[in-house]
Symmetry: C2
Subunit: 152 residues, 2 copies
């Protein structure tokens, strides 16, 4: 039995965090780089990433000795839940950058661990790693451009 529905249900938790902690007036008024994607693109990107990461996890779940790899997957999904709340809820840009850096490292570790089990599962996390790199760069850029916005 595939565990894809279970992993997708877990992804509903960070998705709920994203829905509850929305970009509002505070985010709109921040000085953002020209390469900031439009707001409406974020849920689309995340939906694709959630499906891919759930498919990847369900492939690894079918392999033996997978607890370390799946544990890293759990770590990244929990960190992802925390980020939205801290950035959009607390308006803590610096703490957000730190959390997204830890998230990036957790996604990299998950990708490497998945690759060791199943090449396709590892490759399925490639877009997530690419997006994480982009999101980290965006968060750092927003942090540098808005030294006074912290906690505003």
């Amino acid at each position: 039995m595939t565990l894809f529905p279970l992993y997708l249900a877990i992804c509903a938790v960070p998705a709920t965090a994203g829905l509850l902690f929305k970009p509002g007036a505070w985010y709109r008024d921040l000085d953002k780089p020209a390469w900031t994607p439009p707001d409406r693109l974020f849920p689309v990107i995340w939906a694709v990433l959630y499906v891919l990461m759930s498919l990847a996890a369900s492939r690894v779940a079918a392999q033996p000795d997978n607890a370390f790899a799946l544990g890293l997957w759990s770590l990244q999904i929990a960190i992802s839940t925390l980020w939205s709340a801290v950035f959009f809820g607390l308006h803590r840009i610096r703490t957000g950058a730190f959390i997204i850096a830890v998230l990036w490292a957790a996604v990299l570790a998950t990708t490497l661990a998945f690759l060791a089990h199943d090449s396709i599962a590892g490759l399925m996390l490639g877009p997530y790693l690419a997006w994480g790199t982009f999101a980290l760069a965006l968060n750092i850029s927003v942090m540098r451009r808005n030294p006074q916005a912290e906690m505003a």
Copy 2:
């Protein structure tokens, strides 16, 4: 190799949510039942629960065909991260009660799945299930006593 340190590292994510989204003036001024524990007791209880749930997960990680049980564990840890942010960050008492009810169901499912693998691991989640029941009752009581406090 035991995965206890990995699971404890994952528990650091909801713990960080608890540290960042603190009970402040809003929570202090809520009408709370007489059986509300003092604030300082919560981190102690959670520290014990984190150690127990990490030990339980590392026991199940050593068993075969554990991906479903460990997936449920991932689900509850992500929901736990969300709760602190929603209750203490957004001051949404009703949404908090809903999230904690889903958390309770996830902890129950994890406990049952763990019991099927390893009796000791299942028993180690007993205190978490008991605390979840108490926390759900507390959240519902606070919701009923403060009909106007939502989003305040």
